[in-house]
């Protein structure tokens, strides 16, 4: 103890004390905050909004403004609805890593419960598309054929005819739909994230969205058969032709060179 007091005038002493103080404050907060929440005996909805507001203040406010009004770094979130939050945060696009042409999908950092709280808070800012329920996005009884027709009319121009994705202008791109959950596909159509146009229920009813989800699952799901064996990314005849020219003809040339390079003579010269 004597040693400790002897060091009280050390240049780093203040830093150490500050760290202790911060740890103590944080620890006390963590210990008491849940109790405070339980005491505020309100409806689950307003509780979620309250929690979402706290998460929002930490993770989103720097770009979208303290009240979701938007800043030069991020658009306003008034009226985007809970579906947009569920999509953007649920696919890891938000919070954005860095500004750029397009915010890509990445590891999701919030739990689904936290995402729901954030969504509840943002939905409270203004009415917008609501996160769909399980039954709204379930494609099990949908019409895959009709879905294919709708997909080719509305989606295939950017996302490719089997949802492999494609390039747009200035570094933007339509992402691949492989492994995207039905809920997120539904929300993307509903809300039109980033540069994707939206396909609201007024022009594309819920049933048609289900058909599209069923089609995407049929042509780009885990169990989707590839009858020929080499899908080559499903990018179409150009990539397939290029593959045949480079690797097909390349293999023939390699075999011909190999045959000619090996002499059949008894005495190698």
């Amino acid at each position: 103890m004597k040693k400790l007091s002897a060091r009280r005038r050390h240049p780093l002493a203040a830093v150490v004390v500050l760290l202790f103080a911060l740890a103590a404050t944080g620890g006390l907060y963590a210990a008491f905050a849940p109790a405070g929440k339980a005491q505020a005996d309100e409806t689950a909805q307003s509780l979620a909004i309250e929690e979402g507001k706290k998460l929002y203040a930490v993770g989103c406010a720097s770009c979208h403004g303290t009240g979701g009004q938007g800043t030069t770094d991020g658009p306003s979130l008034v009226g985007v609805g809970s579906a947009a939050v569920d999509f953007q945060v649920g696919t890891g696009r938000m919070p954005a890593q860095q500004p750029g042409a397009q915010v890509p999908k990445k590891k999701v950092i919030y739990t689904q419960a936290q995402i729901d709280q954030l969504a509840a808070y943002v939905a409270s800012l203004g009415a917008g598309p609501i996160t769909p329920t399980e039954s709204q996005t379930d494609p099990s009884n949908a019409d895959v054929g009709k879905g294919g027709e709708l997909f080719r009319t509305n989606c295939a121009q950017c996302h490719n005819f089997t949802g492999e994705g494609g390039a747009l202008t200035h570094g933007k791109f339509a992402p691949s739909l492989e492994g995207v959950s039905p809920k997120h596909i539904y929300e993307a159509m509903q809300t039109g994230p980033q540069n994707m146009p939206s396909f609201p229920d007024s022009t594309m009813p819920e049933k048609e969205k289900k058909d599209i989800i069923a089609y995407v699952k049929a042509v780009n799901g885990e169990e989707t058969p590839s009858p020929g064996g080499f899908g080559l990314g499903g990018l179409g005849p150009v990539s397939e032709g290029l593959f045949a020219w480079i690797f097909g003809l390349g293999a023939l040339i390699a075999v011909a060179v190999w045959v000619a390079a090996h002499t059949a003579k008894a005495k190698k010269s």
């Binding site: 009319t153 202008t169 039109g192 994707m196 022009t203 590839s226 064996g229 059949a264």
Partner: protein, 350 residues
């Protein structure tokens, strides 16, 4: 005739010196001739030759087995059977087995033939000189004489009527081909300039085939529309949709930079032709924040907030805009046809 029937006569005298001619020592550019022949192991050792024979026979036999396998798998596998094969994934059993067996059958024939040629067929180098191309004077004279005799015997020189009518017949026959060119037509006339859009025709949502209401179209959304009355089982559906297809977006009126575009829109809802003005690809890669529309074929880019002006790519014209309004019942309807031809430019477009 006799010299033509025996081409060997035209060959140079010194032929068949397969092991190289010895050039005069003072000629620096002399043909060095062929290198000395080296034997193969199969030429020296009969057992090695037997081995090669067995290899070739094995390859041919494998090909036969693969062909039988091809026929067997064609019979055995139903066309829709999907199996999991590592590392290809879920593949059609029929496609995979047909491809593999046919591939093996063809490859083994080729490989067997190559191995046969390289190890067992004679590989002694042989030089074979070319013939002189020119025919001998006697042959030429005989051909000319034969031709003259033939012309004489056909009486074409004497019987002028036959000659003249034959020339007439030969000259007229190609006319039938010229007449058939008419079937390349008829000319398109007004078809390139007109679409099915007309005053009062409502815009039908291509997804639901229901008429579109102004409030259905929200800012940031993308909708495709066809004219009222266009049915998919129409005889001319494909020709019509290729000109009628519309792209409907809603832009905040103050974001629309082009005055005419703002006037032709209904409450900020703009209707543009979906057909690219470059070579007519359906164009609808719409970016809702920039209002740019990109053509997937040649990357022509149009700015939908500025009269669909071309901002990039090979397209020569802005996308034609259809003038629309909201009618009394709240439905979107056209106020006439497009003001200019839709789709790619053509010679008489003006």
């Amino acid at each position: 005739m006799s010299s033509q029937e025996n081409p060997e006569e035209a060959l140079p005298a010194e032929q068949g010196n397969a092991h190289g001619e010895v050039a005069p020592k003072d000629d620096p550019f002399a043909d060095p001739g062929l290198p000395p022949h080296k034997p193969r192991i199969q030429d020296l050792d009969e057992r090695a030759a037997k081995r090669s024979e067995r290899v070739v026979a094995f390859l041919f036999t494998l090909s036969m087995i693969a062909t039988i396998g091809f026929i067997a798998s064609f019979v055995a596998f139903p066309i829709d059977k999907i199996v999991y094969v590592w590392p290809l994934g879920h593949v059609s059993a029929l496609n995979l087995s047909l491809g593999l067996t046919l591939g093996i059958a063809l490859f083994c024939i080729g490989a067997g033939a190559v191995h046969w040629a390289r190890t067992l067929m004679s590989d002694v180098e042989v030089a074979d000189e070319r013939h002189a191309i020119q025919a001998s004077p006697e042959v030429k004279a005989k051909v000319m004489a034969d031709f003259k005799a033939g012309a004489e015997e056909s009486v074409i020189g004497r019987r002028k009527l036959i000659r003249t009518t034959m020339f007439g017949a030969l000259a007229l026959v190609p006319l039938s081909g010229v007449v058939l060119l008419r079937d390349l037509g008829p000319l398109p006339e007004k078809k390139l300039r007109e679409t099915s859009w007309d005053k009062g025709k409502r815009l039908i949502n291509q997804n639901t085939m229901e008429p579109l209401r102004a409030e259905d179209v929200v800012v940031g959304s993308l909708t495709f529309a066809v004219p009222e009355g266009l049915k998919e089982d129409d005889h001319e559906f494909n020709q019509k949709i290729a000109k009628d297809a519309l792209m409907i977006v809603r832009i905040q009126p103050d974001e629309i930079k082009n005055k005419q575009q703002r006037e032709w829109a209904a409450e900020g809802i703009v209707a543009y032709s979906k057909i690219c003005t470059h070579v007519g690809c359906p164009i609808s890669l719409y970016e809702q924040q920039t209002h740019h529309v990109l053509c997937p074929c040649h990357q022509s880019t149009f700015d939908l907030s500025d009269g669909a002006r071309v901002i990039f790519g090979p397209a020569g014209h802005p996308l034609p805009q259809l003038r629309i309004k909201v009618n009394d019942q709240g439905y979107l309807e056209a106020m006439g046809d497009f003001a200019e031809p839709v789709g790619p430019a053509f010679w008489e477009r003006g």
